[in-house]
Symmetry: C2
């Protein structure tokens, strides 16, 4: 069984029944319309291999579904009265709003009533719900959000981009293992090349964190190609680009800012067409790739962009199903166990 | 006396004699040609207000000067037989190569035989020479390199961009004070707006370092406008953008990488002209601005880009003279003394 084209060498967790993905239908900026449109499209394209559970205010969701053709598709609704907003304090909101669509969806996942979940809501809240509701995978101390980043070759994943902003060297090694598992089993890269964001190519360069992480990565069984500088990320040498969540978030947001503002610099005295700039922005719009996995938690959680389109939600649902099918979490735990037995930690 | 147009409210350190700037003539990728051309241009344009001391291999420098018209200009040579290369280990090279142009120039500065220095050499070695040869200003724990960064409004300075990669919160406060002094007295900003690079606008966002630094900046007398995200740096809200040297270096290099690679993305299926891309790169070429000051050391040290043009070296010499004339170091020490007395540190 293969939900999305690409390799799934780890084998499926279940080949006999559909993979069930909960969609936090109240999360995004354009909820619940795009969530419902995306969920319907995913269910239709998967031809029975994905079952979608929409979580949110039942009346609202039923009205939105009624506007569309969802006849015969494996889509159900679980009612959740409350909503966590984009400006709610994440951990507090998750603790307090037990009836929110995000917390209800996470609880369904924890109980095994769904196999994974997608949310385009408050990213901090999705991270908090994952940590509090699902717990961490064995051998992983901190979670990481892995964001797809376009390069001149294939897109790379950068992790962490904001879940864990204060890291130890061993956290970066764990991020590398998680990124490798995702790149291999969801993105279909045979032998993922891992690089460490640093401020020089030599192993001696960097701050305390990256110098120590370089040593750990070098000693590991990963295909570690060394340090990568900001200027080289776009060239596409690496599949997996590792950094702490503060640095990764700065990389992501600075790139977004440059993409949006560079055409304005270019147009000062040049004849660049608005269409060119739009095309560029689209190339860098990571919503198109279907969202970023929250790696390290005990489950399959895909974070979609708040401004996700229906297509982005559809892709996020498919990515979640592929994550489950390839048992990425199992690969992470097994690989980390080998790392531990190899280096005697 | 004013070397370069702009405000110098702090007053000059000396109004009666020329300001003497040493130029490490062996430092850059195209040394010593561009260094000598730039030094001659600066001396000519300053009309007697700047005296340039070229430091390097005398025979080589004399031959280069002979190719140009330097008649009657206040330019002298101090011989230095050795050279620190771009790939030498910085601190080790500074300790070992006592006869290198960089170390000789720094020693001249330490002895008061010149008032400031410019080098386009190995950046790490310039930082090490500043630290070891000049020492730190009173009240400053760590140095910072302040790089000019183009925005949609006036250029901002970002500091640190690589001198100090492991920082305490108080280091970031000191960087802010140093950046404020430079922005005000060299760039001529009346009331420099200071911002902190962070991963969210709210004070509660960030890692341990930035959350604590935010509190210190908030309590200070600086005009602190709060956190700035990577996506907003280019909009130009701030004059002084503060971060640790690891993050600043990633920002600088990622920007350089994007500037060079984005036109290749644009040209995939669009009609962007090569000239547009060149114009964009020029706008972001910080060599055009004349180099980045190494702030916090007891002296006036300007780091020029390794690939500096003659114009960049000329501008760097003028910036060094302005730095001396405005007594930026004195302003930093005085401001930090006020900060200390205000918060009882």
């Amino acid at each position: 069984m293969s939900i999305v084209p690409g390799s799934s060498p780890a084998g499926g967790s279940s080949a006999s029944r559909p993979i069930r993905i909960a969609v936090d239908a109240m999360g995004g900026d354009n909820a619940p319309g795009v969530e419902i449109g995306g969920a319907i499209a995913a269910a239709r394209e998967a031809e029975g291999e994905i079952e979608v559970v929409l979580v949110g205010q039942r009346g609202l969701l039923e009205a939105e579904i009624a506007k569309r053709d969802a006849t015969g598709l494996p889509i159900s609704i679980v009612d959740a009265a409350d909503v966590i907003g984009m400006h709610d304090a994440p951990a507090e909101a998750v603790r307090r709003k037990r009836g929110s669509s995000l917390v209800v969806a996470t609880t369904l996942h924890k109980k095994g009533e769904v196999d994974g979940l997608v949310s385009a809501g408050n990213t901090g809240a999705v991270v908090a719900a994952g940590l509090l509701g699902l717990g961490m995978l064995r051998g992983v101390r901190r979670p990481a959000i892995a964001s797809l980043y376009p390069t001149l070759k294939d897109p790379a994943i950068v992790l962490d981009v904001g879940a864990s902003v204060d890291c130890r060297p061993s956290d970066l090694l764990e991020f590398a293992v998680m990124g490798m598992a995702y790149a291999r089993h969801v993105l279909g890269r045979d032998d993922p090349q891992v690089a460490l964001v640093n401020i020089g190519e030599e192993p001696s360069k960097g701050n305390e964190l990256t110098r120590a992480a370089h040593r750990l990565l070098k000693e590991s069984d990963l295909t570690f190609i060394g340090n990568i500088e900001g200027s080289s990320i776009l060239a596409g040498a690496a599949d997996v680009i590792v950094c702490d969540g503060f640095v990764g978030n700065v990389i992501l947001k600075l790139t977004e800012g440059l993409i949006h503002i560079l055409p304005r610099f270019l147009s000062q005295g040049s004849g660049i067409a608005a269409g060119d700039a739009d095309g560029l922005r689209r190339k860098f719009d990571y919503a198109e790739y279907g969202g970023a996995p929250l790696l390290g938690v005990n489950g399959a959680v895909i974070i979609a962009h708040g401004a996700s389109s229906e297509k982005a939600i559809k892709n996020a649902v498919k990515v979640a199903a592929k994550f489950v099918d390839a048992d990425v979490d199992g690969v992470i735990v097994d690989t980390l166990r080998e790392v531990v037995s190899n280096d005697g930690r």
